[in-house]
């Protein structure tokens, strides 16, 4: 049965496992806090967060870091709900 990109338990690989740790950047801490705040406001729950991550195109999913996946999901879910307009974040960032 075909598995989605995130469902990879037991998938054989010869690639080494990257066990390095890194200090979290400010944007990563803010992303974590944002998900907490969105949950508190009832705008997004953890299952929606996961679904948004799992629905990323496979190549983007592979390229993205942990919190980049969270950010991608936040944008997907909030756009679905109309909290963000399509393209709103990109437009603001381009200013």
């Amino acid at each position: 049965m075909e598995r989605a990109v995130h469902d990879r338990g037991g998938t054989p690989t010869d690639a080494p496992i990257d066990r390095t740790e890194h200090e979290l950047s400010d944007w990563e801490l803010l992303t974590d806090a944002l998900v907490g705040a969105l949950g508190g406001e009832g705008l997004m729950n953890v299952d929606e967060l996961r679904r948004g991550i799992e629905s990323m195109p496979a190549d983007e999913y592979e390229r993205a870091s942990y919190y980049e996946r969270w950010l991608s999901s936040i944008e997907t879910i909030l756009t679905e709900k109309g909290v963000l307009a399509p393209g709103e974040l990109d437009a603001r960032l381009a200013r």
């Binding site: 049965m1 598995r3 469902d7 338990g9 037991g10 729950n45 299952d47 929606e48 996961r50 679904r51 799992e54 709900k81």
Partner: protein, 93 residues
């Protein structure tokens, strides 16, 4: 609760579009109900903005590593324990 501790079950093999939390490597594998965790909101509907009701029972299921991984070379008694929602479990012989 459909199952009780000690019962033999099998993880369902069925296509499922969309979010679910049953790992692919367990689908079709037999295991044992170790304990009943209780009932929880259903992530499969909650992931799309619903309230996740009715609550779904979740079980701790123990699987023989050798039954999950055909070429498992560790101790024959090794097991892996995974939480599985009731609607992904079927009665096994």
């Amino acid at each position: 609760m459909k199952f009780r501790a000690g019962q033999r079950v099998r993880v369902a093999v069925r296509p499922h579009e969309g979010h679910h939390r049953t790992p692919g490597y367990l689908k079709g594998k037999p295991g044992n109900i170790e304990l009943v965790h209780g009932s929880f909101t259903n992530p499969e509907t909650r992931a799309y903005g619903a309230d996740g009701l009715p609550l779904q029972p979740v079980y701790l299921v123990g699987f023989q590593q050798r039954e999950v991984w055909p070429d498992y070379r560790g101790d024959p008694g090794d097991r892996i324990y995974v939480d599985v929602f009731e609607h992904w479990l079927e009665e096994a012989e």
